[in-house]
Symmetry: C2
Subunit: 386 residues, 2 copies
Amino acid sequence: MKNFIYNNSTIIIFGKDSEQKVGFETKKYGKKVLLHYGGGSIKRSGLYDKVINSLKKEEIDVIELSGVKPNPRLSLVREGIKLVKENNIDFILAVGGGSVIDSAKAISIGAMYDKDVWDFFDKGVEIKAALPIGVVLTLPAAGSETSHSCVITNEDGWYKRSAASILERPKFAIMNPELTYTLPNYQTACGATDMIAHVMERYFTNEKNVEYTDQLCEATIRVIMDSVKICLNDNHNYASRANLMWAGTNAHSGILGTGRIEDWASHGIEHELSGIYDITHGAGLAIIFPAWMKYVYKHDLERFARFANTVFGIKINNDLHETSLQGIKRLEDFFAEIGLPTKLSEVNISTDKFEEMAIKATKNHKIGNFVKLGKEDVINILNLAK
Amino acid sequence: MKNFIYNNSTIIIFGKDSEQKVGFETKKYGKKVLLHYGGGSIKRSGLYDKVINSLKKEEIDVIELSGVKPNPRLSLVREGIKLVKENNIDFILAVGGGSVIDSAKAISIGAMYDKDVWDFFDKGVEIKAALPIGVVLTLPAAGSETSHSCVITNEDGWYKRSAASILERPKFAIMNPELTYTLPNYQTACGATDMIAHVMERYFTNEKNVEYTDQLCEATIRVIMDSVKICLNDNHNYASRANLMWAGTNAHSGILGTGRIEDWASHGIEHELSGIYDITHGAGLAIIFPAWMKYVYKHDLERFARFANTVFGIKINNDLHETSLQGIKRLEDFFAEIGLPTKLSEVNISTDKFEEMAIKATKNHKIGNFVKLGKEDVINILNLAK
């Protein structure tokens, strides 16, 4: 087990009607709030009114910035930073899913920086300050509600890049599973896939002596898989919505990666995919992750066989190759079962930009830690996904 | 799943040589520190010198209070409060296991209160302030290094009582598994039993829709059991010491209880036992928990059969009674295997004070939530443990 430092101070306020506490929680940190959200869905659902009323009740000034899109854009982040600076805003409230939260995080670090916010994403400039942010979560997926990182897409070249700092952890995350009842099944499935990917990025490690987090990872994946299948057939199943939501937070809170060296190659490759083609991140992961697994599984057959066994109950036989491949196949079958594509052809992506994506993904260095991947490796993985 | 609020902000600094960071971490919170510890073991091991040197390097003033005993005493807590108030101490550093940390927590809340500290334990007075504390952990067991509660024994009547507040969570916990190499096997085994009990107090709940935390609980118990067996045979096994230590923290961090109603009857009964007879808490739990299980298992056969299956791999057959009892038997066998008593007679405790303990345990109200227990129930459980 590697040495580690773990600190996750986000206050989780979980359960029915929890969104009614948003004003009370917000006023602990600020009096003038940037309310950041996507589009009309929170207005249609009535959540927008509830949030506004709760903030007004606490006499909090609200300035709005809506329009966050999936794969959130740098241009809107810059607009938000300008708004915050011009209006002396002291708190950012993200109401939405990972895209909204990530956009809010980028604004929060950009607002405390006197140069261009993209420096944090492209040049790796150290983040030294951030405005506090809070979250009302509507889409369980990205785990951004307690994570210490965010991912932003720069439309100038369609680069999708991340920036991390413990300063990005939200002060609070309000999580009411009922708010996810109205999600389209495709979004629920993409969300679950993102969660599973977050666990797998940590699970596939070369560190051998991490039995505790191994078992926590396996439990988390199993529960996400079982819960999402129930949610897709019974949208208003509170228990499964709740288990899925809470597992999704823990999938990316950082605790599952303690003592491990994490991988993140699949996310790196997928970021090029969704950066260029603007497909949903979870769908991209359902395509890339199995391809990555097929490409690297021989590196540690025991780990892949264990994955097959503990996640899918596949009996480990003498041929670890076969057990490993059965596990990967079952994962693909699962993604297909919940309605996601598992091949690039299913989302009409041809081989045209494989080279471009591979070059961009490996621009600064090889990616991944379980197996280090260069440009040719990425092209090979994309070919396995076509 | 019940609504919940979860917030654990303790910074975990985990791994080899982590104790060398104690001065650096401490100076973030205070300049004049009460160094609180037990007896000679940290001096013999060299840890005392390392801590002192690290604090001195940061020019931190140190006032010492040693002498914490297992089942930490109110008299020493009062002495510590006096020291803190008289010397304007601004931080308490606990170097030790759960007893030392609990004693430090009690001092930290008493130091910010102008009446008697026992009010928090006996009268349930609300805790409104606490001095910050930090931890260097030497005995993985109580989980007090991130928990929000402490347990103190009042020698006047030998009452063992707890007090809880989020303000009690330590600011940081330094955890080096190597510091546990020199623990006697009995202490290691008692510690593991305390951890398992912390999980079981949460696992046995009437809340049905908590699949995620159910599986996290089961994983945590399995890893504790497997790890401690290795540690007892190979004291210097870093991986197992590390897995045990980290699982023990998570066993009582609060995360495993999220969304659940916890039980805590077995702890309540055991506190009377160790309060009166001064036996090690973990040993008391190895005796009381199986007896409690035998007394209540019929209340939810499915849960007890599931426990037998997921923790011990016992096949669930049609007779859930039999499966449940097999699971309890295996737990008793496990405690015996790691060298702990499972009957009161093994620690020379007779039936003499069963009534006294039962009256004290149920003094203010029935105990437990899985099954509510009154005085007669406690006597019945003690009889099952004799």
